[in-house]
Symmetry: C2
Subunit: 230 residues, 2 copies
Amino acid sequence: MEKNLEKYFTLAVSIDCVVFGFDGKDLKVLLIKRGEVPFKDFWALPGDLMSPDEDLNFSVNHILKDLTGLSDLFFEQVETFGEIKRHPLGRVITTGYFTLIKIGDYELNPSSFASKAKWFKVKKVKELAFDHNKILESSINKLQTSVRTRPIGFELLPQEFTLTELQLLYEAILDIKLDTRNFRKKIIQMKFLKETGKLQENVSHRPAKLFQFDKKQYEILEKKGFNFEV
Amino acid sequence: MEKNLEKYFTLAVSIDCVVFGFDGKDLKVLLIKRGEVPFKDFWALPGDLMSPDEDLNFSVNHILKDLTGLSDLFFEQVETFGEIKRHPLGRVITTGYFTLIKIGDYELNPSSFASKAKWFKVKKVKELAFDHNKILESSINKLQTSVRTRPIGFELLPQEFTLTELQLLYEAILDIKLDTRNFRKKIIQMKFLKETGKLQENVSHRPAKLFQFDKKQYEILEKKGFNFEV
DNA sequence: TTATCTTAGTGTTAAATTTACAATAAGTAA
DNA sequence: TTACTTATTGTAAATTTAACACTAAGATAA
């Protein structure tokens, strides 16, 4: 039985990027304003059709860079969405990816069909283009489980941070309150935070100690069978 | 800037199914022998190109039924693989799905380009067609985390089973040894196993009690905030 | 310089959970 | 009746989690 292969090679694949950031208080996500149809003037996840000559996992960074100027990020795949009518221009299935970055370390340069690029509080995100609300929701779920089992939260903080900042980050991502004493005990006993010896500056109260995430130490512990868990 | 959309709508999307089963001793996976090129005569995951007019999540069952006769299963998405050269006939990205079934409940009827369909011990699987070894590996990882956090293992056992069978199942999936007393305590305290009152038959030793998974009870507990965890 | 304000930082105890561990029970088969 | 095989069960120690409130250190204002 010969199969007419041509009819199968008629789909497009797109990639949508969920870039998370943290401003010290709220978990944020980077959105672009679409300057073209479809969904012109809607806020959307940075995403675009994938060139057929690119690897799916590599294409993510190209697409994000085109739209926002951000480059060379480490993405994790979330889920693939393949409803028939999810894209008005044709049959497009899309794969969602997420990443975490320090907001202040990057400059946003919207281009291509992105007329703007802006950080939004995750909790305040309204209606997005396409099925991007679903993609965002799925990404948040994945982020929540990832952040509990791997030390990826530090990607969202400045290199030197206080334990209070770290706790606020976890509270924002997990959307729960944590007990300060228990949280600090748990983190410190894991032995991969290094005191810098420095203190916070320009605060009108007792300054907190500044810590760093010691990646090498973490990898050593990991090899010994240590399991991160918050 | 107008975009030449046509060049994007030239990909195909395929679906690969990882069907897990359990024979009382080993975790198994259902493979087909390919009767057509490419990879003719290779063992492979049941999988095929998706019709452009089907929903990705619905297409899974059609494809599996075509190749193996199995129908109406509940699948969970695993991951999407999009390397450029993963398929020799063109640009095909594929999404992997897994499901769990009771081996004895289904009859295998290989058809279409599947010349055979057969259960293989997961640990004994050799080289498969395409990148199916990677897809299988990723599915096993996902199965392992899923089986610890949701009561899906019961899908692999007969409706009535002994606690020893359940333990063997978990040991096979997680590839670890469990302490019998602690395992039974943990499972029983969760309160969603129902004694049938029956005993094992035709065994030449003390017969074990037969249990059932009480799905309604589980859902009640779940609503009350109970969290399955093994 | 002293008092006040604000956030940083810390320890203990009870409860719950996990772990380690071995003897008895209930059948079948010889 | 005995031997054999697998099923079934409890306890104590160790670890982890959970709950909870006061002192410390700096900046600022009186």
